[in-house]
Symmetry: C2
Subunit: 341 residues, 2 copies
């Protein structure tokens, strides 16, 4: 069992810097595309054997140091009672959008073992064959709230802000319900065998610091507090974290996962004494010629040295257009360049 | 003549903090919508009398301390030889997208007096009637390049990164041509009567610090250097600036305009000793109840005190959905709460 990733999350000494990639099981892999030719995205998420199969693919093909469960952050939202569809054009569509007390009252906190048993079954299946740690995950409360309020993705997040500023009580009620949902969901994943969990706050970076402290941070803190006793590392990814590092640290998460728009050396100096950092290569840097890509890997490894510990990752998910060979090269280079001899 | 805005840009003492708003002439104003019922957006940009009329509207209705020319950042790009259309669904569409040397060679550096005479004529008209300073503007080179490469707006900016990392020489050639275009364009605006200019770097915040220093900053510096001798303040707006403040300062601009995702007090401490700051209310905060909106205005005024000077603005443009009354209230509150008695 390769436990380098778990050790790094706990700031223990490691022989090299472990690496895994957000969205490492995905469309950039021909192996994944082959599975997807047979089933649509949501069916894949809900079929434990297939979900386990695509989760394993990058572990075998790339040699990453952790697996992340193949699923979608909106799975628990569907279980709360919203209708979820994926459109080629628009991405996820959730209906009806939550814009008031009436829609909120139509929702419930799901019971994972009954409402999303396929997630837990995928985890159990994976633990039987994996030789690296398995990461479970959930969207963070604020990020899930944006999808529910907007009815999917958004550019301006106008309705989210409208709820925050004009329907505050409803929005806070939604965040509280989401917090309970996320706590139960991640606890169930850990009980089923997840050895670490990552909270994805993909959209909290649209908030200024004051609103982040009101509408995102308290709920992340609640989740972290709830899960702290379960003995698995908690990773918190905040996309657009550059102006929110101090707040991010207050989350209490073991590992802070940075997007690519901040110098990791600067983050290490500012909050790295108190947390392990994860990140943060620009996902598009995988388009670079190999030598330049290696140089960027080196720069990130070097920059992260001032932190308590480091898990290498991208600053966001792997894009479908990225060549598989470049991703393989990345993983190799992280291992080669970080090895303590 | 109210010159409070120009004095604040120069860090001279002012009786109160001047305020203007990005996209202050726009759809949230019924007066603007009335003009737009008669002409489409591009025709409006190209009709000096109408453009001057909508530029004046917010000055009269809101009592802001500066006017900003009504135009679009893609006007000079159309003049470079691209086809520009505005679609209700997609926003701006530029064709054909610049993806290689061939498209680059089809473009030219426009001659403002011949290729965009309507912009200069709007400025001359406005100077005859305005009682506040007139701000000219342009997109910054990197931001204009993203539109040209993507063929419009984008979510992932994949093609821009692809050009940066796979077609570097072409991309640098494009940036250089844009820099010359922007220099000529802003110089012509200043010669026609613009009393300050703002460079909009709406999308440079998608870059990590290293790439920002390669693909955005050098070109902004060139523009600032070219215009420095002309005697008008140069404002640099960088959307997503939280991880790039030190770099932003190196631009040499007189005023640094911040988006809303950074605490202005923190920016004032970090770079405010050397530059006047502009900003940075969340545009959606205009949805707040009046008392809370006033509190946010107060917090920003307070936070900006550590800077050399302050021009109040939003952290991005006014949204169409914002009630006019809220915008009026904002302007009044900035004046009331900042007045030195």
């Amino acid at each position: 069992m390769n436990d380098t990733f778990l050790k790094a999350c706990r700031a223990e000494p490691v022989p090299y810097t472990p690496v895994w990639l957000m969205r490492q099981a995905g469309r950039y892999m021909p192996q994944y595309q082959e599975v997807r030719r047979k089933v649509d995205f949501l069916t894949l998420c809900k079929s434990p054997e297939l979900a386990a199969q695509v989760t394993l693919q990058p572990v075998e093909v790339l040699g990453v140091d952790a697996a992340i469960l193949f699923s979608d952050i909106l799975i628990p939202v569907e279980a709360m009672g919203m209708r979820l569809e994926f459109s080629e054009q628009q991405g996820p569509v959730l209906s009806p959008p939550v814009r008031g007390q009436a829609e909120l009252e139509g929702l419930r906190v799901p019971e994972p073992s009954k409402d999303v048993p396929f997630v837990l079954e995928s985890i159990r299946l994976l633990r039987q064959s994996l030789q690296v740690p398995l990461i479970g995950f959930s969207g963070a409360p604020f990020t899930l709230a944006t999808y529910m309020v907007e009815g999917g993705g958004s550019k301006s997040f106008f309705y989210t802000k409208w709820m925050m500023f004009r329907q505050r009580e409803v929005f806070l009620g939604l965040l509280q319900m989401l917090t309970e949902t996320v706590c139960r969901y991640l606890r169930a994943q850990i009980e089923a065998g997840a050895q670490a969990v990552q909270l994805f706050d993909t959209w909290a970076g649209i908030l200024g610091p004051q609103d982040y402290r009101t509408y995102a941070l308290p709920y992340v803190k609640q989740v972290v507090r709830e899960l702290k006793g379960l003995g698995v590392p908690i990773i918190y990814f905040l996309n657009g974290c550059a102006g929110l590092l101090e707040e991010m640290l207050q989350s209490g998460a073991d590992v802070l996962s940075l997007d690519w728009r901040i110098d990791i050396a600067q983050a290490a100096r500012s909050v790295g004494a108190e947390a392990v950092l994860q990140g943060n290569l620009d996902p598009c840097a995988l388009l670079l010629p190999r030598q330049e890509l290696s140089q960027r890997v080196q720069d990130i490894l070097q920059g992260a040295r001032a932190a308590r510990g480091h898990v290498f990752n991208l600053g966001h998910g792997v894009l479908p257009q990225i060549p598989l060979e470049a991703v393989k090269h990345l993983v190799q280079e992280v291992h080669r360049l970080s090895r303590r001899s």
